[in-house]
C-alpha cells in the first residue's frame, strides 16, 4: 500500500463516556463492511478500525481528536460512513446508548 493513497479525516469524540464499547463495536462493524484498510489514530497510536479490542485501547475520552485513515478502493466511502457515526454521536446507527454505562 502506497502511503500517498491514504485518505485522512479528523473527527472529535462527543459521546458522554468517550469511545466506549458500543461506539467501538459500531466503528468495527462498519469498517468490516469495506474492503479498504481502515485505521483510527490518536496521538501517536494507530489501531486497526475493524478490531473492537484495539479501538478500546485508544482510551479516547470525550473531546478527544482522532484521525480516521483508510486505504483502498472504497476508502472514501468508509471514511464517510465512519465520520457520520461520529457526527451523529453514534445515535442513528443503533438505539440510544446505555444510560450512564
Amino acid at each position: 500500500m502506497v502511503d500517498a493513497a491514504i485518505i485522512r479525516r479528523v473527527v472529535t469524540v462527543n459521546t458522554e463516556h468517550g469511545l466506549h464499547i458500543r461506539p467501538c463495536s459500531l466503528i468495527a462493524k462498519a469498517a468490516q463492511r469495506y474492503s479498504s484498510q481502515v485505521w483510527v489514530q490518536k496521538d501517536q497510536t494507530r489501531v486497526d478500525a475493524r478490531r473492537v479490542l484495539e479501538l478500546l485501547t485508544l482510551a479516547a475520552g470525550p473531546g478527544a481528536e482522532l484521525e480516521l485513515q483508510a486505504a483502498g478502493s472504497d476508502a472514501e466511502a468508509v471514511i464517510d460512513e465512519l465520520s457520520r457515526l461520529f457526527e451523529t454521536n453514534f445515535i442513528d446507527a443503533e438505539p440510544s446508548p446505555v444510560p450512564s454505562a
Binding site: R22, R50, R51, L53, T57, V98
Partner: protein, 601 residues
C-alpha cells in the same frame, strides 16, 4: 490459622498446598500439547469459540427481549470482540507455532488485553478488563467442559478444596497427586463421600462456605478422621498433624499385613467379608483390600453418568469388568435403585417433584413401572452370568407381590433369551434387599421364595425410625443401635436360619467395627462392606470368639434405648483395642459429645 469443621467421611490426615476449585475458577491444566495434537487442539478451540459465540447470541436476544436493545448491545460488543479475526489469528498462532494448549493460548492473549486496559488508566477501561476476563472464562469453560479436566492433569501433590465434587470427578481423582479433599457441601451418604472412602483419600465434606477464605497454594490440613479442615496452620499445629499423619500411616501399614489372613474368629469360625462397589473399576480395589467377592454392586452410576439410558451392552460390559476381578467369587448385582429424587434422564419429567421421594416411585417400583428399562438390565445380568458367579438382587421389596412380579419378569427375560438362543445363567440365584420394615416382619414368608437376603441398614433405619439422616434437624435420631432395628435384623436372621436362606448385611452399619461383634453375636456370618474397612473389620473379627460375641448380643438384647447400646458397644471396642480401631467415622464429634452428655444425666 483458621479451623473449619465438617463431616469426616474418609479417614486419614492430608497436609499440602491448597488447590481451589470454585465454580468460576479454572486452572489451566497444561501449557503445551504434543506436536501431532496441534490440529486436534485447533479444532477444539474452534468448537469452543463457536459455542461461546452461540451462547452470547442467545444472551443478546434474551437481553433484547427483556431489557431493551441498548443492553443487548453490550453482548453484541462481546460478540464483536470474539469475532475479531486478528485476535483469533493470534491465539491460533500460539497453538500452531508454540504448541500451546488452547486454554493457555486463550488465557495468554486475552489477559494481555485485560492488562493493557488496566494500565491505560481510567475507571471505564479498567472495567472493560472485567469483560475480557468474562470472555476468557466463557471460553475456558467450554474448553475444559463440565468435567473440569484439570483434576486429571495434576502434576504435583495438592489438597483439593471445592464447593462440590461430582461422584465421577471423585472417582477419577489421581491418588498419586490428590492428598485429600474438602468440600463445602455434601453429607455422609453422598456418593462422593462413599467414593472418597473407597479411594482412601482423606476427605471432609459439608464444611459450609469456606472457599472465600482460601486464596490457593497455602498449606491446608485435612483430618478425615475428626472432620477438621485447617487453613494456613501455625507451626505447632503443623507439627502435631505431621506426627498424627505418620501414626496413621503406620496404623494402615499394620492393617495391610492382615490382608492375606483369613477373617476368622479366635475359635475358627469364618466370617465372609464382601465388598460394596459403585463403579466397575472399584472391583479390583476391593479384591486388593481382601474382599471375598462383591456383596453389593450398585448399578445406578450406569444411569447417572450420562444423559442417555445405558444400553444392554453398557450393562453387560460393566458387569463383565467386575467379574474379571472376581471370576470365581460371588458378585451380587442390585438392580436399579433410583428414585423420584434421582431419575434417569428420560424419566425425569414423568414424575412431579412435589411428592415425598422416599415414599414414592423409587427403586424396584420404578423398574416395575418401566419394564423396558428393567428388562434391559436383567438381560445383561443373565448374559454376564455365564462368566462367573453372578447373582441378582431386587432392592426395596416391600411386599411378596412385588418380589413375585420382579421374579416373573426375570422369567420372561429368560424365555426371550432362550428363544433367541443367547447363552445365559439359568440357575441365577435371586435375592432381595430387606430395607422396608414390612419385609423384615414377613421374613418367614419371603424366606420360602428367595435365594438370599441382604439387609440394607441405611434404608431400614430410615423407614423404621422415620428419619432422613441427610436432614440435620433430625439426623441425631438416626441410630443404628436402636433396639427396633436390632429386632428387625434378628427376625430376618432367624427366618434365614430356619429356612436355610443366607443372610448378609450391606448397609453402612456393617462397615462399622462398633456393631460387628454384636451382629456376629446375633448370628450374622456374612457382611458386605466398604472395601477400605475390610482390614480393620478383620482385625476385630480375629480378636473375637463366638462365645464373647453372643454374650455381647445377649447383653444388648436387654437394652431399651440406642444410647445404651452404643455406649456399651463403644466400651467393648475400646476395652479391646484402645484407640487404634477408630472405625469408619460415622458420627461427628458433636454427636458423640451429645451422647456422652445425656448419658451422664
Amino acid at each position: 490459622m483458621l479451623v473449619k469443621r465438617g463431616i469426616a467421611v474418609s479417614p486419614g490426615v492430608a497436609i499440602g498446598p491448597a488447590m481451589v476449585f470454585g465454580t468460576e475458577n479454572f486452572r489451566i491444566p497444561r501449557r503445551v500439547v504434543s506436536r501431532d495434537a496441534v490440529e486436534l487442539e485447533l479444532q477444539r478451540f474452534e468448537t469452543a469459540l463457536a459455542a461461546v459465540c452461540h451462547e452470547i447470541e442467545l444472551n443478546e436476544k434474551l437481553a433484547a427481549d427483556r431489557l431493551g436493545a441498548q443492553y443487548a448491545a453490550i453482548f453484541g460488543a462481546h460478540l464483536m470482540m470474539l469475532r475479531d479475526g486478528e485476535l483469533i489469528a493470534q491465539i491460533e498462532a500460539l497453538i500452531r507455532q508454540k504448541s500451546f494448549s488452547p486454554e493457555f493460548a486463550v488465557s495468554r492473549i486475552l489477559r494481555q488485553y485485560a492488562h493493557r486496559f488496566q494500565n491505560l488508566g481510567g475507571q471505564y477501561l479498567a472495567e472493560r478488563a472485567a469483560d475480557i476476563y468474562d470472555l476468557e472464562k466463557r471460553i475456558l469453560r467450554h474448553l475444559l467442559g463440565e468435567a473440569r479436566e484439570e483434576l486429571q492433569h495434576l502434576m504435583a501433590p495438592v489438597v483439593i478444596l471445592a464447593h462440590n465434587l461430582t461422584p465421577s470427578e471423585t472417582a477419577n481423582l489421581d491418588r498419586k497427586f490428590v492428598l485429600g479433599f474438602a468440600t463445602e457441601v455434601g453429607g455422609h451418604t453422598s456418593h462422593t463421600a462413599i467414593l472418597a472412602g473407597a479411594l482412601e483419600i482423606p476427605a471432609v465434606v459439608g464444611v459450609g462456605s469456606f472457599l472465600n477464605d482460601v486464596s490457593g497454594a497455602e498449606t491446608i490440613i485435612i483430618d478425615g478422621t475428626s472432620g477438621e479442615v485447617i487453613l494456613d496452620p501455625d507451626e505447632d499445629t503443623l507439627m502435631r498433624y505431621r506426627a498424627s499423619e505418620a501414626r496413621y500411616r503406620s496404623f494402615t501399614k499394620r492393617l495391610e499385613t492382615l490382608r492375606h489372613l483369613p477373617a476368622e474368629t479366635r475359635d475358627d469360625v469364618s466370617i465372609e467379608l464382601l465388598g460394596n462397589i459403585e463403579f466397575p473399576a472399584e472391583a479390583e480395589h476391593a479384591r486388593q483390600r481382601g474382599a471375598e467377592g462383591i456383596g453389593l454392586y450398585r448399578t445406578e452410576f450406569l444411569y447417572l453418568e450420562s444423559n442417555r439410558e445405558p444400553t444392554e451392552e453398557d450393562h453387560y460390559q460393566a458387569y463383565c469388568e467386575v467379574l474379571r476381578a472376581f471370576p470365581k467369587e460371588p458378585v451380587i448385582i442390585r438392580t436399579l435403585d433410583l428414585g423420584a429424587d434421582k431419575m434417569p434422564g428420560s424419566l425425569r419429567s414423568s414424575y412431579p417433584d412435589s411428592v415425598n421421594p422416599a415414599l414414592s416411585v423409587r427403586s424396584i417400583r420404578l423398574s416395575l413401572l418401566h419394564l423396558e428399562l428393567f428388562k434391559t438390565q436383567l438381560r445383561a445380568i443373565l448374559r454376564a452370568g455365564v462368566h462367573g458367579d453372578l447373582r441378582v438382587m431386587f432392592p426395596l421389596i416391600a411386599s411378596l407381590l412385588e418380589f413375585r412380579q420382579a421374579r416373573m419378569i426375570l422369567g420372561d427375560v429368560m424365555e426371550d433369551l432362550d428363544e433367541q438362543g443367547v447363552p445365559f445363567r439359568r440357575d441365577m440365584p435371586v435375592g432381595m434387599m430387606v430395607e422396608v420394615p414390612s419385609a423384615a416382619l414377613l421374613a418367614e414368608e419371603f424366606a420360602r421364595e428367595v435365594d438370599f437376603f441382604s439387609i440394607g441398614t441405611n434404608d431400614l433405619i430410615q423407614y423404621t425410625l422415620a428419619v432422613d439422616r441427610a436432614d440435620p434437624a433430625v439426623s441425631k435420631l438416626y441410630q443404628a443401635g436402636d433396639p427396633s432395628i436390632l429386632r428387625l435384623i434378628q427376625m430376618v436372621v432367624a427366618a434365614g436360619r430356619r429356612r436355610g436362606v443366607p443372610v448378609s448385611i450391606c448397609g453402612q452399619m456393617s462397615s462399622d467395627p462398633l456393631y460387628l461383634p454384636l451382629l456376629i453375636g446375633m448370628g450374622v456370618r456374612k457382611f458386605s462392606v466398604t472395601p477400605h474397612a475390610i482390614p480393620e473389620l478383620k482385625e476385630v473379627i480375629r480378636s473375637l470368639t463366638i462365645a464373647r460375641a453372643e454374650k455381647i448380643a445377649s447383653r444388648v438384647e436387654a437394652m431399651e434405648v440406642a444410647r445404651d447400646v452404643e455406649s456399651f458397644l463403644r466400651g467393648e471396642l475400646s476395652r479391646r483395642f484402645g484407640d487404634s480401631v477408630r472405625g469408619v467415622p460415622q458420627q461427628s464429634e458433636s454427636e458423640l459429645d451429645a451422647g456422652a452428655a445425656s448419658a451422664s444425666v
